[in-house]
Symmetry: D2
Subunit: 411 residues, 4 copies
C-alpha cells in the first residue's frame, strides 16, 4: 500500500496552490458579497460546486471522504490562497468550524461515525458546530468551569446545559458537544455528536458578531435534556479535554493560515493604491513613512508564514509540542494580521474607511480572532507558564542557573 | 464691559462639567441608538432640546449666538464628558463639522454673515458642512492640488468643482467651500459660504463610511456652476489656506477631546466587566496580563488629556504654535483612543465583538480619525519637518551642533 | 508677609529657564566627562560654584536654605534645561537622591534637623543618600517586606539591617534610613537621619551599575547596630511609609523632568546629524522612514512634557492624587525617554554606537529609570488597581455599569 | 562521489547541536570575561583549541579547509547554541566578520586564493576584516557612493582610499577591500584580497564601539597607495557589488542566529530569576505583568527562529530570493533580540542594570546590529520597494488591481 503522504511532492503541492490561486482570483472574488453582508447557504453551494469542478475542493479532507488528502504540513500555502477571499475557505470547505471538526473526527471518530458524519461534512452536504464555550460563569477559555452535564441513562446519555458562541450552529446538521460526565467514579469531560434536530436541542439568542464570513452565526445553544445513544460518544468517555487539544492546535493554526491570506489581500490592495495615489507630487509608495508601513506589513506577513510552517511541521510529528507552539503562532499571527489590515486602511486613506473597499470590513472580520480559540491574554499566560516550567525542568536536570551574581567591588 | 473669559472661574467650569456629566449619563445614554445605527435628525432635535433645558447646550458658542461662551482652554473637560456618548456632542451642538465651522465663523465672518449663519448654527437650527477634500488627484491633505475653482463674475463668483468626504452635507443648510481663485494676478484659495439649496449644488454619491455618529453622511458634493455674491466670501479673497489653518487646529483638537471621552466610556465598560468576569478562579482585573492592559489604557488616557490641555492653552495664546502642536495631539490621541477601545474589547472577551455591547462599533467610529484632518502619516511628516527646521534655526542662531565627534583612540 | 510663590510669575520662571539654558549650554556641556566616565566630587564642586555665580543654583531649595525657592509647579522647564547635560542636575544641586531628600526634609524635618541637614545639603556642602531598598527577600518595591529594624533603646534607637542600591552613599554625609519599628504595640516603619560616619555604619559591596551620573555609586549599606538619638527620628515614629509617599511623588517626577532634558539633547543630536548626513542622495531628515522616527520622538517629548506639567500642578494642590498620577508620568516618561534616545542612535547610524558621541552612553544612563522608583511593571499593577477601585467606587455610588448586554436577536 | 550534504541527516545535525550545547555551557561560559571587557587573542586561541577537541570547531567551513562542512540550511541550531555565550562564536570560528568572509571566499575565490587564505582562516590561524563602509560622504549602506579606488598599474592594481568600521582589523591577516574600478571603459566595483602588512595599509583611529565581542575593534583603515597583483582580485573585476550580495545574505542571517542564541541566554536568566524572586508574596513568574513579558519574549524567539529557518532554506536553493528575505529576517530578529534582552533586564530588576549580571552588557552588544549590515531603516526602504515592484509586476502580468471602488449609494 502506498503512503498517501508520499504522493504529495513539493511540485504537486505547488500545482494545487496555483490552481487554488487561479480559482480564488478568477472565480471566487467575483462572487464576494458586499462588505458587511453575511454569507448564505446558496452562495456556499454555488462556490463549493465550482471548487469541485476546479479540482481544489476539500484539500485537507481524507480522500475516502471526498477530499484531496493533503497532509497538514502542506496546508498553509493552500489555505492562505483560499483566505485571500473571505469566501474562499467556504468554497474549499476548509472553513471553521467544519474544518476543525472534520480533522478531529478523522482522528478520533469510529468508522461508523465517520461514515455518518465525516462523509457528508467532507462532501459539503452538511455543516457542523462545536459546543464548547459556555455563558458566564461557565467555561470560556477555562475548561474546569464546564457546567453542561451528560448523565448516564439507559443505553446512552442525557445532556443538559447551554453553550454560547456556537459558531455555525444555525443550519448545522450536527454539533460536537462537550459535557461533564461521571464515569467509574471519576469526573471528566466527554464529547458527544448531537444531531441538531434531536429533541431538546434549541438554538437560542443570536448575538450579532462583527464578523460575517461564518455561515450560521454565533448563537447560544440550549440542550434541554437531549438524549443520545452510546454510539454518539466521540472517542472515549472522560477524554473530552484531551480531544479538545487534538482539535485545538490545528484549528488555531488553520485560522492563522486563512487570515494570513486575507492580510495578503489587504497588503495587495494597499500596494495597488499607493502605486497610483500621489501626495505632494510623489506616489505614496515612494514616500518614506508609507514605505515604513509597507515594510512592517511585509515583515508581519513573512514571520507569520514562517511560524505557521514551523508549527505545522511540528504538529505533523509531535502533536503535543505542536499544540503548545500553536499558541505562539496564534498570538503572533492574530496580532500581525490585524496590524497588516490596519496599515492597509491607513495607506489607502479615506476610501479605506468606506464600504467602497472591503478593508474596513476585514478589520471587523479578523478582530475576533484575538479573542476566540483562547484569548491572546490567556495564551500569553499559558506560553509564559510553559516557558517557566520547561526552564525549571532544565535546571532540575542539572543545567546551571544563569542569574548568579558576580562578586561586586568591595568598599 | 466685563471680560467674558474672566467669568469662567475654575469652579464654574467644574460646575458645567458636572452638569454635562449628569446630563450625558442620565439622559443621553438612554437615547443612544443600537450599535451600527446612524443618528437621525429627529433624535438630534430631541437631545438638543434636552441639553438646552439642562443648561449645557452649545458650551463653546459665543453667548450672543446662543451658547455659553466658554473659552477654548476650558473646552476639554466639557467635550470629554459629551464624548462619553457618541450622541453627546450632537446633543451639546459641539459635534464636527458644525463646531469647527462655527469656531471659524466666529473668528472670520462678517457681522452679517454671523447673523445669517452663526446664529442658526449656534442655536442648532441649521447644520453645515465643510468642502475641502477633493477626489483624486485633487486635494486630500495636500492643498496645493486644489481643483475646485471660483471665477470672478459680475457681482460675485462662479464655483465649479467637486468635493468628497463632505461630512454632514445631506441636510445641511450651508457649505463652507474652498476654491482656487485668481485675484489681482495672484493665484490663491478662497472660502465661500454656499447655501446648500443654491442652484448648481448637487449632493452626489454617498459612500458608506464605517462611522455612524455624524448626521448627514460623507457624500460627494458637486458645484456645477454655482454663483454666489461677494458677501458670501468668508474673510478675504486669497486667504483660504490661512483660514483653513484657523479652523484646523481647534477642529483637530476637539476631535481629540470628544474621542477621548469615548475612550473613557470603553475603559469604564472594561473595568465594569473585569470586576465581575472570572477566569481560572480570579476576577479578571486581578490577573496581571489584564492589569497590564488596563494600566496601558490609563496611561493613554492621561497622556492624551495632558497633551490636549497643553495644546488648548497654547492655541488660546498663540494660534500658530498651537496649530503646530495640534498635529502632535492629533497623532497621539487618535492612536491612543484606538488602543484604549481595542484593549477594552480584548478585556471584555467574546461579548466585546458582538453588538450586544457597543465596543466594537466604537472601533469603527474612531478608526477614521487616524485618517481625516490630515492622516497621521502626513502629520508625522509635518511634525518632523517642523522639528528639523526649528533645530536648523537654532543652529543658525549660534547654538552649537551636538553631533560633533570626540576624537577616537589612535592605533 | 508676602506669599513667596506669588513672586514666581511666568516671566520670572522664563528668565530662570533661559539663564539655566545658557549656563548649561555654554558652561556645563564643556565640562562633561567622556562617555562611560563617572562624575567625581571635584567636578561637582566646580560646576556648583559656577551655577551659583550664574544665579541658577538650587532652584527648588527654599530661600532660607540657599536656594531660589521655586515652587514645584515650575520645576519642570528648569529641570529639563538642567537635564540637557548629564552633569547639569549636579551643577544645579537638583540631582537625585539629594533633591528628593531635601524636598522631604523641607516638608517633614524639625527646625533643628533642617538647620543641621537641609542647610548643608541645600548649599551643596554635603551629600545624602536614601536607605530604602533591601536585598532579597527584603523590600524592593514592596515595603511590607522591610527587614531593617530599629529597636527602642535608652534615649534613642538601635538600627540593624542592610540596604542596597543606596545611591550616592559613598561620600555622603547623611542617610535617610527606613526601618521597621514597634511603637505603642503597633508595628510600622520609621525614618531616621543617620550620620554616615556614625559607628556601625558600613558601606559594603558596590555593584557597578550601568549609569554614571550619580556621584557615590549604588552600594550596599550595613547598619550593624547603629545607635541614634530621638532627635534623629524624621517626623513621627511609625509614619515612615507615609513620608516615603511624600518623597516618592516628586522624586519620581523630577527624574522624568531631568531625563526628558536628556532626551531633548539626544533629539537635537539626531536632528543635527540628519540635516547633514546623506543617504541615496538626500539628507536623512528628508527621508520618510527617518522622518517617522523624528516625529515619534517629538510626540514622545511633547506628551512627556504635558503629563509632567499636569502631575506637577496636581502635586502642588493635592499630594495624594499627584502621587498617584506620578506613577503614570513615571511609566510614560521613562519609556518615552528610552525610545527617544534609542531612535537618536538609529538616526545617527554607526557613530551612534561608538563613544565618539555620547548617545549610546545615554541609553545606559536612562535604562535603570524603568526599574527604580518602583519598576514600571509594579507601577502598571498599581495603576490598574487604582483604576479598578476608583471605578468600583463610582459604581457603588450609583453610577450605572456600562457592560450590560443589549438583548440579542431570538432564533 | 558522495554528495556531502547528504551526510548531514537530521540526526547528525541534532548530535552536533547537542555537542555544541554541552561545549558552550560546560566549557565556554566558564571562560567568559566580565561584562564590559574586550575579548583578546589568547582567549580566542584557548577556546578554539577546546572547540577542536570537542569536535565542534568551524561547523560551517568546508571539510577541506578544516571545518565540518555543514550546509547553510543547518547552521541555525548550531549557531544559536554557539551564540548562547558571547564567546561561543569565536570559539567555534563562526564569528563575524570571518564567517562571512570565509563563506564568500568559498563561493568566489580561486583555488590558489582558497589555499592562501581560506585554509588559515578556516583553521583559525588567521583573522580577516571586510573593508566596505566608508567615512561620510562615502558609502555607508549606499554603495553608489564608493570613494575608494583601485587604479590599473602594471601587473596589478593600486588602491587608495579609507574605510571605517572595519570590524576585526587590528590583528587581522587579510582584508577584503571593495574599491571602484574602471574596466574596459565600464565603471564598477571590485573586491581585492589585501594583506594587512602590505606597504600602504594603515590602521587609523579606533572609535570605541559599545560592543565587545569582536576581536580587533572597528577601526578606520587607510589604503595609501597599496599595490596588489592581479591574483588578488577576488572573482572578476567589476563584480564587487554582486559579490557583496553573495556575502550579505548569509552574513546577515548568521548574525540573526548568533544573537538569537544570546537572546535565549537572556530569557533563561530572566526565567531563573523570576522563579525565585518574590514580589508581594508571589514568585515573579506567577505575576501576570511579568508573564506578559515572558510570553512576548517567547513569541519573539520562536518567530525569529522560524524566519531564520525559512530564509536559510531559501538561501540554499535561491540566493537572490534568499538575500531579499534576509532583509526581513534581519529587521525582525535584530529588533526581537533587543526586546528580549531588554525585557530580561526588566524582569530581573535592579541586578539587571548592574555588572553583576551580564544582561545590560548584552544590550550594548546587540544594539549595533540594528545599524550594521544595512540599517533597519534602509532595510525597510528596500523591503517596501521590493514589495511594490513585485506587486507591480503581478499587475502588469494581468492580475487585477484590488483597490477598485464599489459604486456608492446615489443621493
Amino acid at each position: 500500500m502506498t503512503d498517501p503522504d508520499a504522493t504529495w511532492t513539493v511540485e504537486r503541492v505547488e500545482q494545487l496552490r496555483l490552481a487554488t490561486r487561479t480559482f480564488i482570483r478568477e472565480t471566487v472574488i467575483q462572487l464576494e458579497p458586499p462588505p458587511g453582508a453575511h454569507l448564505g447557504e446558496e452562495l456556499r453551494a454555488l462556490v463549493q460546486a465550482q471548487a469541485r469542478e476546479a479540482g481544489v475542493f476539500a484539500p485537507q479532507v481524507p480522500v475516502e471522504f471526498g477530499g484531496l488528502g493533503l497532509p497538514i504540513e502542506h496546508w498553509s500555502p493552500i489555505f492562505q490562497e483560499a483566505g485571500y477571499s473571505p469566501l474562499g475557505p467556504v468554497a474549499l470547505n476548509c472553513m471553521a468550524p467544519d474544518e476543525g471538526n472534520m480533522h478531529m473526527l478523522g482522528q478520533i471518530a469510529s468508522p461508523e461515525q465517520k461514515q455518518r458524519f465525516l462523509g457528508p461534512l467532507g462532501r459539503g452536504e452538511m455543516r457542523s458546530c462545536f459546543g464548547m464555550t459556555e455563558p458566564h460563569p461557565g467555561a470560556g477559555s477555562d475548561p474546569e468551569a464546564l457546567r453542561t452535564t451528560a448523565e448516564r441513562v439507559d443505553g446512552g446519555w442525557r445532556i443538559v446545559g447551554e453553550k454560547r458562541f456556537s459558531s455555525g450552529a444555525v443550519g448545522a446538521g450536527v454539533a460536537v458537544v462537550m459535557a461533564r460526565t461521571e464515569h467509574e467514579g471519576v469526573s471528566g469531560a466527554t464529547m458527544f455528536l448531537v444531531d441538531m434536530d434531536a429533541p431538546g436541542v434549541r438554538v437560542g439568542e443570536q448575538p450579532h458578531a462583527i464578523d460575517r464570513a461564518i455561515i450560521g452565526g454565533h448563537p447560544h445553544l440550549h440542550f434541554e435534556g437531549v438524549t443520545v445513544s452510546d454510539d454518539r460518544v466521540l472517542g472515549a468517555v472522560g477524554e473530552g479535554f484531551r480531544y479538545a487539544q487534538v482539535r485545538l492546535g490545528p484549528a488555531r493554526l488553520t485560522h492563522c493560515m486563512r487570515w494570513l491570506g486575507l492580510a495578503r489581500r489587504a497588503q495587495d490592495t494597499a500596494l495597488d493604491r499607493t502605486a497610483k495615489r500621489r501626495v505632494f507630487g510623489s506616489p505614496v509608495d515612494e514616500l518614506g513613512i508609507a514605505q515604513g508601513l509597507i515594510a512592517d506589513s511585509v515583515i508581519d506577513i513573512e514571520t507569520s508564514d514562517a511560524i505557521i510552517a514551523k508549527t505545522a511541521r511540528l504538529l505533523a510529528r509531535d502533536q503535543r509540542a505542536g499544540t503548545a507552539l500553536s499558541s505562539v503562532a496564534k498570538v503572533h499571527c492574530s496580532e500581525a494580521v490585524n496590524r497588516v489590515i490596519d496599515r492597509a486602511v491607513q495607506l489607502v486613506g479615506g476610501d479605506g474607511v468606506t464600504e467602497q473597499l472591503p478593508l474596513a470590513s476585514y478589520l471587523n472580520e479578523v478582530r475576533p480572532f484575538r479573542i476566540y480559540d483562547g484569548s491572546n491574554e490567556t495564551q500569553r499566560w499559558a506560553i509564559s507558564r510553559r516557558a517557566s516550567r520547561a526552564r525549571a525542568r532544565e535546571v532540575a536536570a542539572g543545567e546551571p542557573e544563569r542569574d548568579t551574581l558576580r562578586a561586586a567591588e568591595q568598599a
